[in-house]
């Protein structure tokens, strides 16, 4: 029996696994580098502090900086990147739209709207200090809970729309655009009505920042990440089947509606948790998967973990840039948008060029065009 095809396929799979391992290594290196830059210590002292926190010869202040300031920040970036990258990858699949992401579906804006309501109407917090660089939110859980509730409401609206009107998944992104604009109008209204303190608190909250989350909050995010990540990975072949079309997936025994809705709900859940604690971080859900797709194609066995890691790397780097480029800290949400926009445009142009080359090659081979 001729097995060269199977060998070739296995080789291809090995390359993909190697790519994921490489990404893991890269993420680890980026995280440690960011940790060093962030805490202003060299590699050996950081590693020393990490591995024996209260050990002899460890400076108490350095240790405190690493464990209480830098490490939560790095972990925030890691977890948020992983969560948003994964959410983007699966949403693009179930919505059958390359623009699918928590941001484009209006979930991020809904969360921001919820947070604004929490801040100004539910007395969640008000700004203290002279500059907007430091915001004290008195009761972060009210803001977070409100953000979470509203993002879930947005998700519910989208799912009900799908159920009732049976719109195509492609159309769902349009519904997301509509929702997005409604919620941002709501935010603007709140900003317009209330005083400037509330205004600056809302504005500041909207900028995603890695410096907001505490260890307790991070562990909550971690738990949600693990649960949703496992669900996404368990369904990786269902996503591959869905890519070929709903009918193909259904004939392969995939429960199409159930998978689509559960995936959307979980992606919204993980997004809203991140947005609730860290603010809006745009473009990670788009950039992560689109960059990784250049290397592994659309195979969700590798695309999902790859997008998670790529999201984490982008966010770590963006946060580092935001912290060090100016005398003051620039919120990471601004950096990701500034980096993400042009990079995304570049990817689109490159994709277009590649497509053109493909079409020309196909024409030369005389293949029957689709």
């Amino acid at each position: 029996m001729n097995n060269r095809g199977i060998e070739g396929f296995k080789k291809h799979n090995h390359r993909m696994v190697l790519f994921i391992l490489f990404m893991i290594a890269l993420t680890t290196i980026t995280a440690i580098a960011a940790l060093c830059i962030n805490s202003d210590l060299d590699l050996t002292s950081v590693l020393n502090i990490l591995f024996n926190r209260y050990g002899p010869g460890v400076d108490v202040i350095d240790s405190s900086i690493v464990w209480n300031l830098s490490l939560p920040r790095i972990m925030s970036a890691l977890l948020a990147g992983i969560a948003l990258g994964a959410a983007g990858a699966v949403m693009q699949c179930v919505l059958r739209n390359p623009l699918g992401s928590p941001y484009t579906l209006g979930i991020s804006n809904a969360a921001a709207f919820g947070a604004s309501i929490g801040i100004v109407l539910l007395g969640g917090g008000i700004i203290v200090g002279q500059s907007s660089a430091f915001v004290q939110i008195d009761n972060p859980y009210i803001v977070t809970a409100s953000a979470f509730t509203w993002s879930m409401i947005a998700t519910a609206i989208i799912i009900i729309l799908v159920k009732v009107t049976k719109v195509s998944p492609e159309t769902m992104v349009l519904a997301g655009v509509a929702l997005s604009s409604i919620f941002s109008a709501g935010i603007s209204l709140l900003q317009y009505i209330f005083n400037e303190y509330a205004l600056s608190t809302i504005v500041f909250w909207q900028f995603g920042s890695m410096g907001k989350a505490t260890w307790e909050e991070l562990s909550l995010i971690l738990v949600v990440c693990i649960i949703t990540g496992l669900y996404f990975m368990y369904n990786r072949l269902d996503y591959n089947a869905l890519d070929a079309g709903d009918d193909v997936a259904a004939s392969l025994g995939v429960n199409v509606n159930m998978t689509r809705i559960l995936t959307l709900v979980l992606a919204a859940l993980v997004t809203s948790i991140v947005v609730s604690f860290m603010g809006i971080i745009a473009f990670i859900g788009l950039l992560g998967p689109h960059i990784v797709r250049r290397f592994v194609g659309n195979d969700h066995r590798y695309l999902i973990p790859g997008s998670m890691l790529m999201g984490a790397i982008i966010l770590l780097i963006s946060d580092c840039i935001g912290q060090n480029i100016a005398d003051f800290t620039i919120p990471v949400g601004i950096i990701t948008s500034f980096l993400g926009g042009p990079l995304f445009l570049y990817l689109l142009i490159r994709g277009y060029r590649k497509k053109k080359v493909n079409i020309i090659e196909k024409l030369r081979r005389g293949g029957a065009g689709e």
Binding site: G5, G8, N240, G245, D247, S251, L252, G253
Partner: protein, 271 residues
């Protein structure tokens, strides 16, 4: 016991009857072509057989089991469906075929699954492009990949919706030869919808003419008569014998053509 028994099948959508009292049986080693104008419920019938549409009344029995009583996984092991519209995505041909093993696996693909997929690919001549992305192959190859995936599912019933659609004449025949080969080799039963009656007569054993959601005729080549075609499609044709095989030739000078050209063909896109 027949492989497939459809009895008393009715399907309505928004109070509109799409299928009415469909009854037929199909055996292994049979290729059945469903013929009829657009919009008469051909695709709906296929979807009812694979439970993508739930029939209002009636039953579909596959290998002795009513499809409403088996799990979607079990159903997927018995019936494979190749829809008219599928999407090309950036995965390799090998992956796209291998996904056909989905109903048979739990967590991961085994060596055996890969072997089955590879054997199917080789027998359909897809071996050389196995590691290409599906987005990079031609339309004819893409259609082969779809059928290869369905065969990798190892079903007993293979359902194809317009398998020859959008293919040039060479690829139409290559695809149909492939289907014929697979049916004979694996002892499957294939039900497919067709537009081209002559292509259907070349490769099918049984013919089912549907009009307005009802079966007008079902049987071997003897049902391909000018009367049936006039009844179903509303045009006059000659049926001539070519080496024992009926060939359908539409007449050019039909009085109703002038009317159709002026007023359209009653909502149908093709004649």
């Amino acid at each position: 016991m027949s492989l497939l028994e459809v009895s008393g099948l009715n399907f309505s959508y928004d109070d509109k009857k799409v299928l009415e009292d469909i009854c037929f049986e199909a055996e292994r080693n049979q290729i059945i072509s469903i013929l009829g104008p657009n919009g008469v419920g051909k695709t709906t019938l296929l979807k009812c057989i694979c439970r993508m549409h739930e029939a209002s009344t009636g039953s579909v029995i596959v290998e002795g089991d009513d499809i409403s009583r088996i799990s979607s996984r079990e159903l997927a092991r018995r019936i494979a469906y190749v829809p008219q519209k599928t999407y090309a995505t950036q995965t390799t041909v090998f992956d796209s075929v291998l996904i056909g093993r989905k109903p048979h696996i739990d967590w991961t693909m085994s060596e055996r699954d890969m072997q089955i997929a590879w054997n199917v690919m080789e027998s359909l001549g897809l071996g050389d492009i196995a590691m290409k992305y599906v987005t990079e192959i031609s339309g004819g190859e893409f259609q082969k990949v779809q059928i290869a995936r369905a065969i990798t599912q190892e079903p007993s019933l293979l359902i194809l919706d317009e398998p020859s659609n959008n293919l040039d004449i060479a690829n139409q025949h290559i695809t149909m030869r492939m289907v014929e080969h697979v049916v004979r080799e694996h002892g499957l039963c294939t039900i497919m919808t067709m537009h081209d009656i002559n292509l259907a007569t070349y490769y099918s054993d049984r013919f089912m003419f549907i009009k307005d959601g009802r079966i007008k005729a079902y049987g071997g080549t003897e049902v391909i008569t000018p009367e049936t075609i006039k009844d179903v499609y509303g045009i006059d044709v000659d049926v001539i014998d070519y080496n024992g095989q009926p060939i359908v030739i539409p007449r050019k000078d039909q009085p109703q053509y002038a009317h159709m050209v002026r007023h359209g063909v009653g909502g149908h896109h093709h004649v």
